[in-house]
Symmetry: C2
Subunit: 330 residues, 2 copies
């Protein structure tokens, strides 16, 4: 059975909302639900479980003392302290005591803990956060959604390979790879995109990947050609949050247009709690899911289930193989 380690102290509403997520999993279990190991201060964790009517003997606890605050430099904190929740959770995976881990806390801290405790896959310079957008055509993988600070053409190529691997584990057959840019009119975007386009043309088709070329912002929600859309962390994060804002906008306005807000908000909520809820950190030797800091208990549940499925699909092995097949593990 799959075990997921959960950072109890990460997130805007932590630890309460994380404990609420655990309670939700117990109240409405699904067959494929994983075992949980909660990572946080032991007494606090037990108290939170009891308050929610959960038998503490049913949930393992891995003691960890502190989180990384939003205004702290994650690397300094992780190096100075051994008992930070994100480090302990990632370490459980590296020691094979858990199969995956989840945090909805400080993104930079989770990325750093994953890199330090689990290590990068051979051929991967920096991990990327990949989000599953439920486009009109099915799942579209958008990456990087906010992990790697500065992109290069070679880094975008790594993203293409691990994003392709992720799309395949989600059941997308022969996913097309698209490079996010602003279209032919403007000379196909900036220098980074022009160089990446040349590199992609040179290395992807010859190794059997279907590179569909440049795509634009609307293609992420429409999914018309590419099912893996590659960009830098800044653009990806702005676009992803833009899509979230647009769905909220649409729920409000559509509810008004129909004179009945119920179905519109139900759709927005179902979208927020779909696989869209969690960013999969790709390029790390261990399944790592990073959710929204402001995520609800339902969204945290989705992150836990997404992490368990990725562990069951052995996503890091699939990604590692993709990097090898793409000629990047040397």
């Amino acid at each position: 059975m799959t075990t997921v380690a959960l950072d109890l102290l990460g997130g805007d509403g932590a630890p309460g909302v994380v404990a609420d997520a655990v309670a939700l999993l117990f109240q409405a279990p699904q067959d494929s639900d994983p075992r949980l190991t909660l990572v946080g201060p032991e007494a606090l964790t037990r108290d939170l479980l009891v308050e929610r009517g959960i038998d503490p003997s049913l949930v393992a606890v891995a003691p960890a003392g502190r989180a990384v605050a939003m205004d702290e430099d994650p690397l300094s904190v992780l190096r100075a302290h051994d008992d930070v929740t994100v480090s302990v959770a990632a370490r459980l995976v590296s020691r094979r005591l858990a199969d995956a881990w989840v945090s909805v806390g400080h993104t930079g801290a989770a990325v750093a803990a994953a890199a330090l405790e689990l290590g990068r896959l051979p051929g991967m310079s920096r991990p990327a956060l990949a989000v599953v957008v439920p486009s009109l055509a099915g799942p579209v993988i958008l990456l990087d959604a906010g992990a790697a600070p500065e992109a290069t053409p070679d880094l975008l190529r790594q993203f293409a390979l691990v994003g392709h691997a992720y799309a395949r584990t989600l059941g997308v057959a022969d996913p097309g790879i698209g490079l996010l840019t602003i279209g032919g009119e403007a000379g196909k975007g900036d220098r980074l995109r022009r160089s990446a386009h040349e590199l992609f043309l040179e290395v992807l088709p010859s190794r059997g990947y279907r590179y569909v070329g440049s795509v634009e912002g609307h293609d992420v929600a429409l999914g018309r050609s590419a099912r893996v859309i590659v960009t830098d962390a800044f653009t990806g994060n702005v676009l992803l949050k833009g899509l979230e804002g647009a769905v909220t906008w649409a729920a409000q306005r559509m509810g008004e247009a129909y004179g009945d807000p119920g179905p519109a908000w139900a759709l927005a909520s179902a979208t927020a709690t779909s696989d869209f809820a969690g960013g999969m950190l790709l390029g790390i030797d261990g399944v790592t899911v990073i959710g929204h800091g402001a995520g609800s208990a339902e969204e945290i549940c989705s992150c836990i289930r997404l992490a368990a499925r990725a562990a069951d699909m052995r996503l890091p092995d699939v990604a590692s193989q993709a990097l090898r097949e793409g000629g990047l593990d040397a």
Copy 2:
């Protein structure tokens, strides 16, 4: 009365869809509609009008022979030919034969023609394309949506000033200015954003502008704090197209959720044909509106009306004053 010059040859469906837009304006006129001057080959223009049952004597024609094709370098074409529609249309404004001009063709060509024929405002290094997003809180000005190829902190400051002027002409009282970035976690974004943030803090509040600080992608559709959101052309264009894709996504999915697609698509269509249809080129000494290449006749009508209103509000003068007040006209 206001006169708008209209590029007949620009756009994916040109010249037919542009002539359709003219017919729409004649079929359903509004009190504030401008006079039109069509810019295109004379005989072709007359034929298109007659085909649509429009008396050609009611529409002025300014003869121009050719457009800039999507795969051509706009500057080379504009320098080699005197009769390109975008140049002729912009020239009508510079010679005070029209008050504003509209093109839905090649964005780069329209930007170049505007700069060459009308000139930049003092203090403006490069013009920016500003789009009115109908956020939940009212109009939000997002700029640059795709005009200036590489941004600097000083250029973003110019965008803030002219964007603020545009928001005021749209009736937004004391619009807050936000810098689009990816949030505190990641060190407030990349180098460009960190430098721009320092500059904005230094120069905006002391001159009476309300700088609300960093905003994120969702703030564009929600409009919670900033009503002027400043970014580079690459990010702005990706985000804008992302929002368009999300609205199409929402119309499809919400229509399904309610079991009645009508109201959802009506809302999507009303949004596409709102002021959102046209990008206002700010920082140019003459009103220039650039619409979607794939825009419908209804969207082109919206661009024409947006251009007429901006001319009536003397937007270039207001923007010029903002640059002066911001200390940038030296």
